[in-house]
């Protein structure tokens, strides 16, 4: 823009000149330039024609009064009513803002507050965020499991098989590695049975697995889990499954994210194109 300044006013300057929206300096520059430049005059004239056509468009008369009635206020509180639309609009206000406003410094606090805290859109976004965090967490756990499983595998050799894992699980539940003294003593048979029964559930839902392991200080369960995790094969399997689940979760949330507007603000309409 600075280099154009010496020669011709820019398209933006000519357009704003029509509206009297230029700074005094720019205004003076345009006023001084135009009498000497036929191409800028014709550019200005064509912009003025376009503006005048738009201005000459008749205003549409609203088809009815949009005053609020008690019925409207009542029906709009239904979940599928306009309220949810409005809440959606408010919740997603961030997106148009981000697209429309490259500089957030222009945000005015009032319009910012239009966004309500609740609403379907907000809930959806919270859920998405939750699944994302959960997937990321699962991915981290999976990687740790895979890594430690692989390391143990390498150290102990591939001879440590499923059967030894089950055996370990049985041993571990008799003397739980991180259980307290008053923990119930189980027979090895019962423990292996349970470890088999519990394992698929744990691997199928990593979220519940991690949450039960973290939140519920169920010593018996954690003993089984610890036993299961002490075997490299199982660690690898569990890690692999967790990784898959995590990736699926992340992919799904990525797809579900609202599409952004295409960046239409290209510089296609500059002065060269106009001439």
């Amino acid at each position: 823009m600075a280099q154009d300044y010496q020669e011709h006013p820019t398209l933006e300057q000519l357009s704003a000149y029509l509206d009297g929206a230029l700074s005094a300096e720019e205004e003076a520059f345009c006023a001084a330039h135009l009498p000497h430049c036929a191409s800028c005059r014709s550019e200005l004239a064509s912009l003025r024609l376009t503006r005048d056509l738009l201005r000459a468009l008749p205003r549409a008369t609203p088809p009815r009064a949009f005053t609020l009635t008690p019925e409207l206020l009542r029906t709009s509180s239904r979940p599928e009513g306009p309220e949810s639309v409005a809440a959606d609009a408010g919740a997603s206000a961030e997106e148009p803002v981000a697209l429309l406003a490259p500089s957030p410094s222009a945000l005015s606090p009032q319009t910012h507050q239009v966004r309500p805290t609740g609403g379907a859109g907000a809930r959806r976004q919270h859920l998405r965020r939750f699944v994302q965090v959960l997937s990321a967490l699962a991915a981290v756990i999976a990687l740790v499991l895979l890594l430690s499983g692989a390391l143990t595998w390498l150290r102990e050799g591939p001879s440590s098989t499923m059967s030894t894992a089950v055996q370990r699980a049985a041993e571990a539940s008799v003397t739980p590695p991180f259980a307290q003294q008053e923990g119930p003593v189980r027979t090895p048979a019962a423990a292996t049975e349970e470890s088999r029964g519990v394992r698929p559930g744990l691997t199928a839902t990593p979220a519940s697995a991690s949450s039960t392991a973290e939140k519920q200080p169920d010593r018996h369960l954690s003993a089984l889990l610890g036993a299961a995790l002490s075997a490299p094969v199982e660690r690898l399997l569990l890690g692999g499954l967790l990784l898959i689940v995590a990736l699926v979760g992340l992919l799904m949330t990525r797809k579900a994210r609202s599409p952004s507007w295409p960046g239409h603000d290209q510089d296609e309409a500059n002065r060269q194109a106009a001439h």
Binding site: R51, A60, V85, A86, E95, P96, P102, A106, P259
Partner: protein, 208 residues
């Protein structure tokens, strides 16, 4: 054009904020034309524009407590309208079936609802305005629809609603520089579009 930042409006707003629907409805009647026209020009569909207009006022009434002046009430309203319009488009992208329907509506230039909306009886009473024939009005609306959404909004707010640059910046949450750029690009793009249909333009609008 419609900005009347008078004490009357402040009083109506205060009453509305304390839950007085009648006071709010006076504001609705005052601004429904602006809201409806912006929605109509953005969407090119009279029924959709009416829905958006109604939702704008419902949403505004519900969230009126968050409006504390500072910006004009009209800017605040038009900001809600814009959000609803963008939201509508976003939903369309998520549900292509609906968008197909809407696109057909938009393309249907003989849509009687739209034509009736555009042929305003007040126009004939106003000799200051050029009477644009319907074909030309439709052409301009089609040209507007070709603009990228941000440019379309800026041009509508400036040249159809007559908002000053500062208020457009408030509605669109942008800087004055961005507003200036969008209006200029929008006008230039529309000019290029209209130039293809010189024969439809009234004589005084034809390029020399």
């Amino acid at each position: 054009m419609h900005a009347r930042p008078d004490t009357d409006e402040a009083a109506l707003l205060a009453r509305s904020q304390s839950g007085d629907v009648n006071a709010f409805n006076e504001l609705v009647l005052r601004y429904q034309s602006s809201v409806y026209n912006v929605a109509l020009r953005m969407l090119g569909d009279a029924d959709l524009a009416a829905d958006i207009t109604q939702d704008t006022f419902l949403s505004a009434f519900r969230h009126l407590a968050t409006f504390r002046g500072g910006t004009a009430f009209r800017s605040w309203l038009l900001r809600i309208t814009t959000n609803l319009v963008y939201d509508h488009w976003r939903r369309q992208r998520r549900h292509p079936d609906e968008s197909l329907e809407a696109a057909r509506d938009e393309d249907d230039l003989q849509s009687p609802a739209t034509l009736a909306q555009l042929a305003s009886p007040t126009l004939e009473a106003n000799p200051e305005l050029y009477l644009l024939h319907q074909e030309l009005q439709e052409l301009i609306q089609r040209g507007l629809a070709e603009l990228p959404p941000e440019q379309r909004l800026a041009v509508i707010l400036c040249d159809i609603e007559g908002l000053p640059y500062e208020e457009i910046a408030a509605v669109t949450h942008t800087t004055l520089g961005t507003v200036r750029s969008r209006i200029a690009r929008g006008r230039a793009r529309l000019r290029t579009y209209l130039a293809r249909y010189q024969e439809l333009l009234p004589r005084q609008f034809r390029s020399p």
